[in-house]
Subunit: 149 residues, 2 copies
DNA sequence: TCTTATTTGCAACTTAGTTGCAAATGTAGA
DNA sequence: TCTACATTTGCAACTAAGTTGCAAATAAGA
């Protein structure tokens, strides 16, 4: 169990049952990755997860592998927010939590914020406007309040 | 002048005058980069520009530098389409084009479509939901009709 | 043509991420 | 609880993408 960062709301047992729920073994590395993502205020880059957990003695290749596996298992979303850096975010475990939400990314400082309070509506300007596909993620880019001043 | 690819609509002279217009020297590398981007059907990744132009004897560091400089000069846009790969696209030389619109990117095939017919509306779920900043661009990601089948 | 600041090519370097493999470990079954 | 075995880990070596410093080459103005 990793200490530090935001006090995790996710207990060790909860993390384990989440892993078991998708048929993955409960290893220290995976639990640590889940807890790190859970404690983060915003989606983490692989690099930041690696930096953080290497401090605790985990190996970087293990962490990269864990992130990939958790993503494949559907526990973690891989966000591609458009700055050529991948980010990982723990999926809401129960559906009481944040539903799917857009992300906001500041093009100046790179800060990423979950726009949990927002719904997105796509409106065709004409009746025959058709969506080019099935939407799965919305990314809004702009200048955050700090940088816009 | 680079041969091959889509027959460039951009002549050598046009490329030169574009460079001069922003006060940059007309060098073989920059002209080649402009022509490569112009001939491409869709935005190119730095890697693909490098691969393509190295065949003609240009050095990769020169090409990376050219891309950065052309971008800083405003001749080339750097698209961050959210697949952890940067892409460069020659800016339309005249602004006859479409109003601001969201872009759709297929996470399977990488195809990018301009959703020119659409407006996007972000609605706060509660009255106190506040936008985290000033929005400037919206990217929708998902599966295009071809890949969703 | 000459001069000078800019740009290029090279090679070495950095950084992020990947891979192969032996050792360690989680889990199911006895 | 103990055992067996498949899975996972840590290590080290590797790859690929992009960057940097610098001497040589070159564009552009005088």
């Amino acid at each position: 169990m990793i200490k530090g960062g935001k006090p995790g709301r996710l207990t060790l047992e909860a993390a384990k049952s989440v892993l078991r729920g998708v048929g993955m073994r409960c290893t220290a590395a995976r639990i640590a990755v889940i807890q790190a993502l859970e404690a983060a205020e915003s989606p983490m880059t692989p690099g930041s997860v690696v930096d953080f957990l290497c401090e605790y003695g985990f190996d970087k290749s293990t962490i990269y592998r864990s992130l990939t596996e958790l993503n494949e298992a559907g526990l973690v979303v891989r966000l591609d927010l458009g700055d050529a850096v991948r980010r990982f975010e723990l999926l809401p475990l129960e559906n009481d939590g944040a539903p799917e939400h857009p992300h906001f990314m500041c093009v100046d400082c790179g800060k990423v914020v979950c726009m949990s309070g927002f719904d997105v509506e796509l409106k065709g300007r004409s009746r025959k406007a058709r969506s080019p596909g099935i939407m799965s993620e919305i990314l809004v880019r702009g200048h955050c309040h700090d940088c816009a001043t």
